[in-house]
């Protein structure tokens, strides 16, 4: 019998930590899982730890949109190439952007839970029959990502990034210079966290005046369609190894015509939430973890029962409700605070914190990996191609692994 009050308490504790993580730019649940696990002695039951990790992961997703929308927006002269969230911010509709991500997250989460419940028995079968073809599916995604750049002058740099990050992934994931369970921390922090913060430090330091009305300039039909797309894409992302939210968002933009900023934000948030939910539930459905949080939970609980899954879903829903409310509350107030904050100091503090954590958890070699991954992330940004091409770091090793070529490549490299 698990103490219910205990679970609520640790959920709320997770929400608190998730708020802090979500508000700090460049931080992600995968970055802190090794740290959380190193504090596992302070948790008296494995369920407290599981509930805590899920709460941090879900809250981080909801709150994380606040800094990503309100910080690092470029100047108007470059606004044609800005991200959808920044585009709304520049129009003074930053709060609306936050609300759209919340609606997308909650809506897609509910839809995806219904889809997962309806198809629960078929996932295991789909997993088995798709396994021999996974390498082809991932290769297809890589090709799609390249072609979606459209122009040859963009496709070639994108190929270079995928190639460079692919070699980096093969060497880093294939070697044992850093413990495999911690290696993604410096890899992903550098490519997507540190490099983004470094770039945004040179961008706009002030936020345009924001409207705080409750108007949502999206039709109910667009909202429903975006949530549905987000749910389906999130489940597919959760199902396929190495495919990330950014690749799915790119594909949905083309397949579902999600080019419009508002629909895109709803779908992106939907993919994120439903992917996290499916990744956790997939521990039971296909006995295979699909996210940083689910890997940690599999290590803690070893074998999940049906009632464990009920608990996971309950915690996801409970925390989503609280996190959505908090994101709405903070989304209205934090921008004023962020506007007063010295963004450069905040960025330098976050970079220092991440580097110290990397050193403590992965040592000198971790710092070397972070240095290289940050360079690749910056290189990608300067080449002006999508940062998601850096996911070659996972995509290429996954293609090799599922083709059965991993051992041969490692032998050739002498690792």
């Amino acid at each position: 019998m698990i103490e219910i009050l205990d679970l609520i308490l640790f959920s709320l504790l997770g929400v608190l930590v998730g708020i802090g993580m979500g508000l700090l730019p460049g931080m992600h649940i995968n970055n802190v899982i090794p740290l959380i696990l190193s504090f596992s002695l302070f948790f008296t039951s494995s369920y407290q730890l599981v509930v805590f990790i899920i709460s941090v992961a879900i809250t981080d997703i909801f709150i994380g949109y606040i800094p990503s929308i309100f910080l690092g927006a470029p100047e108007e002269k470059t606004s044609l190439s800005v991200l959808p969230g920044h585009r709304l911010l520049l129009e003074g509709r930053g709060y609306e952007a936050i609300k759209l991500t919340i609606m997308g997250g909650v809506g897609s989460l509910l839809i995806s839970l219904i889809i997962i419940a309806l198809l629960a028995n078929t996932f295991s079968y789909l997993y088995e029959i798709s396994r021999p073809y996974v390498q082809y599916l991932i290769t297809g995604v890589v090709i799609f990502m390249l072609v979606s750049e459209r122009k040859l002058r963009k496709i070639l740099p994108a190929m270079l990034i995928i190639f460079l990050s692919g070699i980096f992934g093969v060497i880093v994931l294939g070697s044992t210079i850093v413990k495999p369970q911690n290696v993604l921390f410096p890899v992903l922090s550098g490519m997507f966290g540190l490099s983004t913060i470094i770039i945004s430090m040179n961008e706009r330091s002030s936020i345009p005046e924001q409207k705080k009305d409750s108007e949502l300039k999206i039709t109910k039909w667009q909202l429903l369609k975006s949530c549905l797309l987000g749910s389906v894409a999130g489940i597919i992302v959760g199902f396929l190894p190495a495919i990330g939210v950014s690749q799915a968002a790119t594909m949905v933009q083309y397949v579902g015509g999600m080019g419009e900023s508002r629909s895109f934000l709803v779908t992106l948030s939907g993919i994120n939430l439903s992917n996290e939910a499916f990744s956790l539930i997939s521990l039971f459905l296909v006995n295979n973890p699909r996210s940083g949080a689910s890997v940690a939970i599999q290590r803690i609980l070893t074998q999940l029962t049906f009632y464990d899954v009920i608990l996971l879903v309950g915690v996801i829903c409970f925390v989503s409700g609280i996190a959505a409310f908090l994101a709405m509350f903070l989304g209205k107030r934090i921008p004023n605070f962020l506007a007063k904050l010295n963004y450069k100091y905040l960025s330098i503090s976050v970079i220092s914190f991440v580097l110290i954590m990397i050193f403590l958890l992965t040592g000198f070699y971790g710092l070397l990996i972070a240095f290289t991954s940050t360079s690749i992330g910056l290189f990608c940004a300067f080449l002006e191609v999508r940062r998601s091409h850096c996911m070659g770091v996972l995509l290429i090793p996954s293609i090799l692994f599922f083709s059965g070529l991993n051992g041969i490549v490692l032998s050739i490299l002498g690792i």
């Binding site: 880093v172 294939g174 210079i177 369970q181 911690n182 290289t372 290189f379 300067f382 051992g407």
Partner: protein
């Protein structure tokens, strides 16, 4: 001009970083330890162990599960089908893993369902009869 320079610098630092990581990766050798020294603190580390095969189980999908023992302890060594396929190319099949045969295995220490195991990843990680 400044942007081109920064792009070039980032490319060069990426390549230099990759080369340094590669040099480190090929020069860091697995630690040789006794099976009894394997513990959960070593999860994720690459080690080499020596012992004799005391148990062999074949899986329908082509995986081979060995139990390797020395004087003091034993540990499970799963050889997954992809690695078995690579071994076959070097004329090593599951029948070459004989009970009481000496074997040395290099691999990552992992935990599966609460049990520690060593995961070899390439053909050179397994040496029979040494």
């Amino acid at each position: 001009m400044q942007k081109n320079f920064l792009t070039l610098i980032c490319f060069l630092t990426s390549v230099v970083g990759l080369i340094l990581i590669y040099i480190a990766a090929i020069n860091i050798k697995p630690v040789e330890i006794k099976i009894s020294q394997v513990n959960s603190e070593l999860i994720g580390r690459s080690v080499s162990i020596q012992g004799i095969i005391t148990q062999k189980n074949l899986h329908s999908e082509g995986h081979v599960f060995l139990m390797i023992s020395d004087d003091e302890s034993d540990i499970q060594v799963p050889i997954f089908s992809s690695l078995m396929n690579d071994l076959k190319k070097e004329n090593i099949t599951e029948s070459d893993f004989k009970i009481n045969e000496a074997i040395s295995v290099t691999g990552l220490i992992d935990e599966y369902r609460g049990q520690l195991q060593i995961l070899p990843r390439k053909t050179s990680d397994i040496k029979i009869g040494d």
